[in-house]
């Protein structure tokens, strides 16, 4: 129980810190908080154990759930697509297909080069 309270308190503090950072630099507070949490874990200020086996893992396992309300809300904007939706869907499908493919291929090419370099050095 104390572990759970500590976990929730830490998350709330991180959220607050992100909002404060957002007042100084124009950057989404949630991403600032995420980077902050990563830095605090890497420097050993916070222990990974504080967030293990509790509510954090439950939320991570159901990440998509919290994106439902904003996704459902797009029905109010669907009217904007009238007349162009077929074109836009086609454009996004082709573009996404390329983005995913190119990203994966480039990562693999670099991984392969790294691997060969290691083999050469060995």
């Amino acid at each position: 129980m104390i572990k759970l309270i500590r976990e929730i308190t830490l998350i709330a503090l991180l959220l607050g810190a992100g909002i404060l950072i957002g007042k100084i630099i124009p950057f989404p507070s949630s991403l600032s908080s995420m980077i902050l949490l990563l830095v605090l874990l890497l420097t050993g200020v916070l222990k990974e154990d504080y967030f293990s086996g509790g509510i954090s893992d439950l939320i991570l396992k159901n990440l998509a759930f919290f994106f439902l309300p904003p996704a459902v809300k797009v029905i109010e904007s669907l009217g904007l697509l009238e007349g162009v939706w077929v074109k836009l869907v086609l454009i996004m499908l082709i573009s996404n297909f390329l983005v995913m493919g190119v990203t994966g291929v480039v990562v693999q090419l670099f991984l392969k080069a790294e691997h060969e370099e290691e083999a050469d050095n060995a």
Binding site: L14, L63, V72, V74, S95, M100, T103
Partner: protein, 234 residues
């Protein structure tokens, strides 16, 4: 009838309860069928939209409860630091490949969208609204305001990207021969942000961590590209 419906929906519980019910149903259907197209998020989203449209429930009634769930969005983003931390070793040793892949992905997204929009004769405001779609919602909405696009279109495009990555990752991986978990995760996160990351975490912690990392890095690179876009269009 309409009064009863209004009474039932005009409260904080309604939005929370039907979102939970739709998500649970989506998970159950996915588990039973095991089909990638039966994605829990997609099923829940379509079911909720259908319910709201068919019963003509005012969106503001749904959002009374669902808005409180939306407040949890930042929490879910913060927690993506955990898989990143757990995979820090891989992250460090593959940092060059990761950075190169995401940069190539963001560039492909911007360039292919501009070229395709010109080919299809899409006007500039719509084009600009489609550009920040492969990044996470808060960043995308921030960006679209800065470049003069339409927020509603960007929101639709962001959701579309999330769903399309989740639906089509298998044929894309196969066609481009993407088999390394780091490449799979980075490709998913760069295309489909958090909705894709939810799927990636299901595929494995390394894939999920890489996808989560791609949300942050792709977001940062897209933000950095914006002065350039403004220079071209405005």
């Amino acid at each position: 009838m309409h009064n009863v419906l209004h009474l039932l929906t005009n409260n904080v519980f309604f939005g929370v309860m039907i979102t939970l019910a739709a998500y649970a149903a989506g998970k159950m259907i996915y588990k039973k069928t095991g089909l990638p197209i039966m994605n829990p998020f997609l099923i829940a989203m379509l079911a909720l939209m259908a319910l709201i449209l068919i019963l003509q429930i005012p969106l503001e009634n749904y959002m009374k409860g669902a808005g409180s769930l939306e407040m949890m969005l930042p929490v879910s983003i913060i927690l993506l630091a955990l898989p990143l931390y757990r995979q820090r070793g891989r992250l460090k040793s593959h940092r060059l490949a990761i950075l190169a892949g995401i940069t190539a992905g963001v560039a492909t997204c911007l360039i292919s969208t501009i070229i395709l929009c010109k080919l299809f004769g899409i006007d500039e405001a719509l084009l600009l609204s489609l550009l920040p779609r492969s990044i996470t919602t808060p960043l995308g909405l921030l960006m679209v305001e800065n470049i003069g696009g339409i927020g509603g279109i960007t929101m639709i495009a962001i959701v579309f990207n999330g769903v399309s990555g989740v639906l089509f990752y298998a044929p894309v991986y196969a066609l481009f021969r993407i088999h390394h978990p780091v490449a799979k995760g980075i490709a998913m996160g760069t295309t489909s942000h958090a909705i894709g990351t939810a799927k990636a975490l299901e595929m494995g912690e390394l894939i999920g961590a890489m996808s989560g990392l791609a949300i942050v890095v792709a977001g940062l690179i897209t933000v950095a590209a914006y002065p350039l876009i403004n220079l071209i269009f405005n």
